[in-house]
């Protein structure tokens, strides 16, 4: 899991964080301020400082928070001066907002707070709906409230253009004071408590938070418009309460509880995505009337409370429908406060010793947990800031006692009042400074060596002094809202470890400590010696057990090739033969009558609901688009067979260890990762192994996107947009044990949503009901309506997935929804819209449920930014060892364009992201071998980034390149010189006229249709993914649903065309243009296959579009990267005749690009 942090405040008001991966409290960087309260969310933390003002700390990120400001310049034509600012009196302002109702002069647009800065000056937006406008960016219309066009017509009387400017949030990683209101009437009085939550209520806008605060006068305030792009929110608004509030707690979802002076709790009702503030209050009585509630904390569906007698209570039966719950249960322990964090995990501060406790054993099934466990992590602060633990210790104890004495009757809310002595800002620093000054002198006097050594924190040598202090760290407040602890997370918080903790998950350590340990070497050496001693002179002896043929037999089910197509029970046998050379060969026999399969090219687990089945591809079967499908009785059985078959395949092909840097990587629609080695014997463009004979080997892990580079850098992106970097291992996942590398395999996870649809039909009596016509689809169905999918019957995609959320309405479906998530249509198989009209007789809404998969694979998480797309520079072999960093560009899940710095073979993860500003969110990016960066924006147009170079990794500016007419691009791939793009209708386009002096090219030229994904290699090879999903029906219908069916006819292409002839001996080599796609609808002898890996044949410098397709494995392939595949044998002139004799065209010569074609750089 990505590490996240627990926030806490000690009695001195110092804020500390404790990482889930770490075991030391780290002081908050901005240590100037002292805090009373903190409330953390994932990316930010809100707090109330000693000056009773609210502060927010937004975590630093490589991606800046930036907002676009816009203003429109409006002009009207008049016969005298042409277009000018002299508007009619009835017209809008010359400078206005988009509606024209608000005046908006450019210099009148101000920054919302001191925490923002302008990124650039105002400039004109020349992009109009994906099409570039003429210089000046004007759009024309007949009159103002009208539709605008790019072109000036005879009747264009008015015109306008859009000015944009960006502002950037600059106060990241520091406590930013929330500006107080200008209006003194509105100014809330000093704050006493604050709570952040509500991030699960809705995703719109991105990163929306509910920030609630309580003032000293007992009023409740809500901060409006807090979101990722507006981290400070806009204003406070008062929420009326029936009593004086003391403390407030807002859960991640729709729970909001408030404690009152009188000891009751208030529960907010009616919080939902349309009304995050809720609508009404209801009261919950305390567990016992004599001891009122002092403190509450809410999670998604739990509420914990502390009463005045310090007893801890758990509220039973709380959920969205019944936010009040049913009854109190007393829990063990006495606490000052408790806090519920993510995943309903609970922390508490004991009232005995003010130590921090973690509630162990909180799971979804046992929300109240098992025991309190004390957190004994040490504080970095004690060591580095003020090393005098003794000084602090005594001060702390003294302080603590005093507080405890006075705080006997009042809640923790008041407790802080007792030590609010220091005024705002400067004086707390003074007090603190005094202490820390006093401290070191003490320590240095008594323990001269202590201070020196304590800075070397990791030395395990004696000197336990910091630890003894830690046991007595006195905490005042804790917030787990940003701390993701899951049931299986192992935390290192509970033991004091004195250094020497092997950091296992570091990429630089390619070997685990166990393998480098001296004793391991010794043992291995002794074993080797023993073998030598006992065997060296006796090799001629006969072996007691002859190496026999090993046969694994078993019973599987086989999908019959011919009618009747059904599952048949078969016996299978895998025979492993060991040849004389020690090479193993394996044959898999499938006996139904007599049937035999050889030369397996890939094994693909195919999970369907009913069967644990997998597909087996052979060259012949690949051509036929009809793999052998086998099913095992249990998942375990299947994974055994898969592992074994995989092992045998790899052994017989002598594929071992990590894939070579030149390997081709791909991902299936199930997220399985496959790798194919380029054949070293068959180098050169036209002697390439036909696609159908490529051997695909599965690598552990679960990804949606994988991109590779010939220097061995491989990045992947999961379904949940987590970025992963390849560690160099292999195996993992279902390939445990022997098929797996011993190191570099780590836990990997992915989260995705399962969607089902609720369908309703309108009738005149009762309106929309779940009673459909007999001909209608199921009232609960999948997207197509063919399968019945109810909430209860729906299972996660496979046994590896587990549900991690409940069903929720998905509002983010294309086309939009009404406030309740419904989409309307006149009848079922129709297009849906988000509002109801008279003619709409049916409606549907999408329900989603998150499921999570935890597997293992050779991948390490790249933290900090979630990604949508990634591209690594393909390098031609000449660039090897240039030592330059590897250019890597990516698109974040929010559409930001990013450029990774510091990526190299040794550090494939790189160091940090550099943000590249854009005017709109982007969806796809690709960087070519000569640093040409192309990207696709959300409006479907392409952009070219100029002047990108190793010394200037983020380039200069974007050039807008309009998409092909009436098409919206969705993906782009750039090879050495050529640029291919893919539109949303599956058409593949080639960019004509790209030259070094004119890198943007001239026009798009259509290459093929039915393409799902395209990958252009470093030598301009194009590969792709045919669209298609599994048409290999495992029980037809099961798989058809995975991909939309396309109505256009499949492309009729000859099965595979060899490209060659011509070009030989002419002195210049042909640049090896390789274009691979994943194609849709590939005709096989048995079926149509969707998601097929294809290579563009005949791609040459003179004909960069290529001629035809060579079909490989499929379907169900989703993503492919051949960008590492740069094998190219240098062919000297003397070798050329030889290849000529063979009837083969000369393989492409290495060396510099002497091609007459486009050459960059």
């Amino acid at each position: 899991m990505p590490s996240s942090a627990l926030w806490a405040v000690d009695l001195f008001g110092r804020v500390f964080t404790l990482s889930t991966a770490g075991q030391h409290w780290e002081p908050c960087r901005d240590a100037q301020l002292e805090f009373k309260r903190v409330s953390a969310a994932r990316d930010c933390c809100w707090g109330i400082a000693c000056d009773h003002r609210v502060y927010v700390l937004v975590g630093a990120s490589d991606v800046p928070i930036r907002c676009q400001e816009e203003a429109y310049e409006n002009q009207r034509w008049n016969p005298m001066g042409g277009f000018c600012e002299a508007l009619l009196p009835s017209d809008r302002w010359p400078w206005s907002d988009v509606s024209g109702l608000q005046q908006r002069p450019l210099d009148g647009v101000a920054l919302p707070s001191p925490h923002w800065e302008w990124e650039s000056d105002w400039h004109v937006d020349e992009n109009f709906g994906g099409e570039p406008t003429e210089k000046g960016g004007w759009t024309y219309a007949i009159d103002f409230p009208a539709t605008y066009t790019r072109d000036k017509k005879w009747n264009s009387c008015v015109r306008r253009r859009r000015w944009i400017r960006y502002r950037r949030y600059k106060s990241q990683d520091t406590w930013a004071k929330i500006p107080s209101e200008d209006d003194p009437q509105q100014l809330p009085d000093p704050f006493s408590d604050l709570s952040v939550g509500g991030w699960e209520v809705t995703d719109e806008p991105v990163g929306r938070l509910s920030v609630w605060a309580v003032t000293l006068q007992g009023k409740v305030w809500y901060r409006e418009n807090v979101s990722h792009h507006n981290p400070e929110g806009s204003s406070w608004s008062l929420v009326d309460t029936p009593g004086d509030a003391v403390q407030i707690s807002c859960g991640p979802h729709d729970l909001l509880w408030v404690t009152l002076w009188e000891g009751q709790a208030l529960v907010r009702k009616g919080i939902n995505r349309n009304n995050p503030k809720g609508s009404s209050w209801s009261t919950v009585e305390p567990p016992t009337s004599e001891n009122g509630i002092l403190h509450v904390s809410t999670g998604v569906c739990v509420v914990w409370a502390v009463t005045k007698d310090r007893k801890v209570w758990f509220r039973r039966g709380v959920n969205s429908h019944n936010p009040c719950g049913t009854s109190w249960i007393e829990m063990f322990g006495e606490m000052m406060m408790v806090n519920v964090g993510l995943n309903e995990q609970v922390w508490g501060i004991s009232c005995v010793d003010r130590a921090l406790y973690f509630r162990q054993g909180v799971t979804q099934s046992e929300l109240s947990g098992k025991t309190w466990k004390v957190i004994v992590a040490s504080r970095e602060g004690d060591r580095s800031l003020s090393s005098s633990s003794f000084g602090l210790l005594s001060a702390g104890c003294f302080f603590g006692n005093e507080v405890r004495g006075t705080a006997e009757s009042c809640g923790p809310g008041d407790m802080d009042a007792s030590w609010e002595v220091p005024g705002p800002a400067s004086s707390p620093a003074g007090v603190h400074g005094k202490e820390s000054k006093k401290g070191p002198s003490h320590a240095t006097a008594n323990f001269p060596e202590a201070t020196d050594l304590s800075s070397l924190t990791l030395l395990p040598l004696g000197l336990e002094e910091p630890d003894s202090a830690d046991c007595h760290a006195l905490w005042a407040w804790v917030s787990g809202g940003g701390c993701a602890v899951e049931a299986h997370t192992t935390l290192k918080w509970f033991t004091t470890q004195s250094g020497l903790c092997p950091s296992v998950q570091t990429l630089s350590l390619s070997i685990t400590p166990a393998q480098t340990a001296t004793w391991r070497k010794q043992i291995f050496q002794q074993l080797t010696e023993r073998t030598k001693r006992e065997l060296e002179n006796f090799q001629h002896y006969e072996q007691a057990v002859e190496q026999s043929v090993w046969v694994k037999t078993g019973a599987l089910q086989w999908w019959c090739d011919w009618k009747p197509h059904k599952w048949m029970d078969v016996h299978v046998a895998l025979e492993q033969l060991t040849g004389h050379d020690g090479a193993q060969d394996s044959i898999l026999f499938i006996y139904y009558v007599v049937h035999e399969e050889k030369k397996v090219t890939a094994l693909v687990p195919v999970f369907s609901e009913a069967k644990h089945s997998f597909a087996l591809y052979t060259p012949e079967r690949t051509r036929q688009r009809w793999p052998v499908r086998l099913a095992a009785a249990t998942e375990q059985d299947m994974s055994d067979w898969l592992t074994l078959l995989n092992l045998s395949c790899c052994e017989s092909r002598r594929v071992h260890g990590r894939p070579s840097p030149q390997a081709i990587w791909s991902v299936t629609c199930k997220g399985d990762v496959f790798v194919s080695e380029p054949d070293p014997d068959l180098e050169g463009p036209d002697r390439r192994l036909p696609c159908d004979q490529m051997f695909w080997r599965q690598i552990g892990g679960h990804l949606r996107v994988v991109e590779a580079n010939s220097r061995g850098v491989v990045w992947g992106i999961g379904y949940d947009h987590t970025a992963w970097v390849y560690t160099g291992g292999y195996g993992g996942g279902c390939f445990q044990g022997l098929a797996s590398s011993t190191s570099n395999v780590f836990t990997q996870w992915d989260v995705k949503c399962v969607h089902i649809y609720e369908n309703q039909r309108w009738n005149p009596v009762t309106g929309y009901t779940s009673r459909g016509l007999p001909t209608d689809r199921y009232m609960w169905s999948d997207a197509t309506g063919l399968q019945e999918c109810t909430k209860a019957s729906m299972k996660p995609p496979s046994l590896q997935w587990t549900w991690v959320s409940d069903w929720f309405v998905d509002f983010s479906v294309p086309g939009g929804t009404d406030p309740e998530g419904w989409q309307y249509a006149s009848d079922f198989p129709a297009s849906y819209h988000k509002y109801k009209t008279m003619k709409d007789f049916v409606r549907r809404r999408c329900w989603a449920r998150k499921c999570k998969l935890v597997t293992s694979g050779p991948w390490l998480e790249v933290t900090s930014v979630a990604l949508r797309d990634v591209s690594i520079i393909p390098e031609s072999p000449g660039a090897h060892g240039s030592g330059l960093n590897i250019a890597l560009w990516a698109i974040s899940d929010k559409g930001d364009v990013l450029c990774r710095l510091g990526v190299s073979e040794l550090n494939p993860e790189g160091f940090s992201w550099m943000h590249v500003g854009t005017d709109q969110p982007f969806t796809s990016v690709s960087i070519g071998a000569c640093y040409q960066v192309w990207a696709v924006a959300r409006d479907g147009s392409a952009f070219y980034r100029s002047s990108v170079s190793p010394s200037r990794p983020n380039g200069d500016c974007w050039y807008h390149i309009p998409p092909p007419p009436k098409q919206r691009l969705k993906q782009v791939s750039v090879g050495h010189t050529s640029v291919f793009a893919l539109d949303e209708n599956g058409n593949l386009w080639y960019r004509q006229g790209v030259t070094p002096s004119h890198p943007q090219g001239d026009s798009w030229e259509h290459v093929s249709n039915n393409v799902r994904h395209v990958s252009v290699g470093p030598l301009d090879q194009v590969w792709g993914d045919g669209d298609g999903g599994w048409t290999l029906p495992l029980g037809a219908g099961t798989w058809g649903v995975w991909f939309p069916l396309w109505s256009s006819p499949p492309p009729l292409l000859s099965p595979w065309t060899l490209c060659h002839e011509e070009g030989e001996g002419t002195g210049f080599s042909r640049s090896l243009f390789q274009v691979w796609v994943i194609a849709d609808k590939v005709q096989g002898s048995h079926s149509l296959s969707r998601g097929t890996v294809c290579r563009r044949t005949g791609v040459q410098s003179l004909e960069p579009k290529g001629q035809g397709w060579d079909y490989g494995i499929g379907g169900g392939w989703d993503h492919l990267s051949i960008r590492a595949s740069a094998t190219r044998a240098p062919v000297s002139p003397s070798q050329k005749p030889a290849s000529k004799q063979n009837g083969q065209p000369p393989s492409v010569a290495g060396g510099p690009w002497e091609t007459p074609g486009p050459v960059c750089c």
Binding site: A517, T518, Q526, R530, E534, F538
Partner: protein, 300 residues
């Protein structure tokens, strides 16, 4: 160490060169040539000596043949001890090849178990595996396995197929990530000199204060005589399957040892033998008392 393929392979492919000679009193029709064979350390005598049996039967009359048994320097060899254990226990100090005498007559009823068929060996082997798993996982893993998995385990051993065996055995050697190890370490320490043929105790992999136990800890506890007060080298005279711990710890008489091993008995018949030369050192140390310890899988 189940993921350390190098060590696993070396253990599995350990071989002992052996010379089989027919006992002089056996009646033969013509002179019996000695028979030379490489015996897998991890297997059983009666499982791998079909060739020996066939070889000597050729020179004997049918009526003189009864159950075959083996003897080394007067000691009948228990077939239910793995070959490697027998060798290290009885003959590790002698020169190679290992000279074993083959008998067909006067079966030593009080010393040896009968071995009428390979089913008996299989039953014995499986019961050892089960006993070990009872200690390691409360028998959960072995019970969840199917019959065919058990069969594969056995066939892997019988056919000397490393992959076949370990494909199943891997599961027996795993433990949940949240636990520090097995429940108990299955082990047996065999000795030649005492009246107790082996020592066996319950031993947890982790001490009460959370430290991982090492092989040294185990020996200190169950067999203190095996731990010399001052071992010049850091290696222990113990045969054991080993597993790494992540922290070096103190073993062998308080000396900081670079060798930290967690000891657990082999699941199935695979063992690592460490430092045979230490035996010689011990022999001199203990005068006549030649001490050899072997941590072994469970025998019945």
């Amino acid at each position: 160490m189940t993921d350390d393929k190098d060590v696993l392979r070396d253990v599995w492919f350990g071989r002992i060169p052996t010379c089989f000679t027919l006992y002089q009193d056996e009646i033969t029709e013509r002179e019996a040539e000695p028979y030379y064979l490489l015996l897998p350390r991890v297997s059983y005598l009666t499982l791998v000596t079909d060739k020996v049996k066939k070889h000597f039967q050729k020179v004997m009359r049918q009526e003189d043949i009864s159950e075959i048994w083996f003897e080394y320097e007067g000691t009948p060899l228990k077939w239910h001890y793995p070959i490697g254990l027998l060798f290290d226990l009885l003959a590790s100090s002698s020169a190679l090849p290992w000279n074993i005498t083959v008998h067909f007559k006067s079966f030593p009823e009080k010393d040896l178990l009968h071995c009428p068929s390979k089913d008996v060996i299989e039953a014995h082997f499986m019961s050892c595996v089960k006993e070990a798993d009872a200690l390691k996982h409360k028998s959960q893993v072995i019970n969840e396995m199917q019959k065919k998995d058990h069969k594969q385990l056995w066939m892997g051993l019988q056919n000397d197929r490393f992959d076949q065996f370990w494909a199943i055995n891997r599961k027996l050697m795993e433990y949940p990530a949240e636990e520090n190890g097995f429940r108990y370490i299955p082990f047996r320490i065999y000795q030649t000199t005492t009246e107790r043929p082996f020592i066996q105790k319950l031993f947890r992999p982790v001490s009460t204060d959370g430290q991982l136990h090492t092989l040294g800890d185990l020996l200190k506890e169950v067999c203190p005589s095996a731990v010399a007060p001052e071992v010049p080298n850091t290696v222990l005279p113990v045969e054991a399957k080993i597993e790494p711990t992540f922290e070096p710890s103190r073993i062998a008489g308080g000396r900081k040892a670079s060798l930290a091993v967690k000891c657990w008995a082999s699941q199935g018949p695979s063992r690592v033998f460490i430092a045979r030369k230490k035996f010689h050192w011990f022999r001199t140390k203990l005068k006549q008392q030649v001490f050899r310890a072997g941590v072994q899988k469970f025998q019945l």
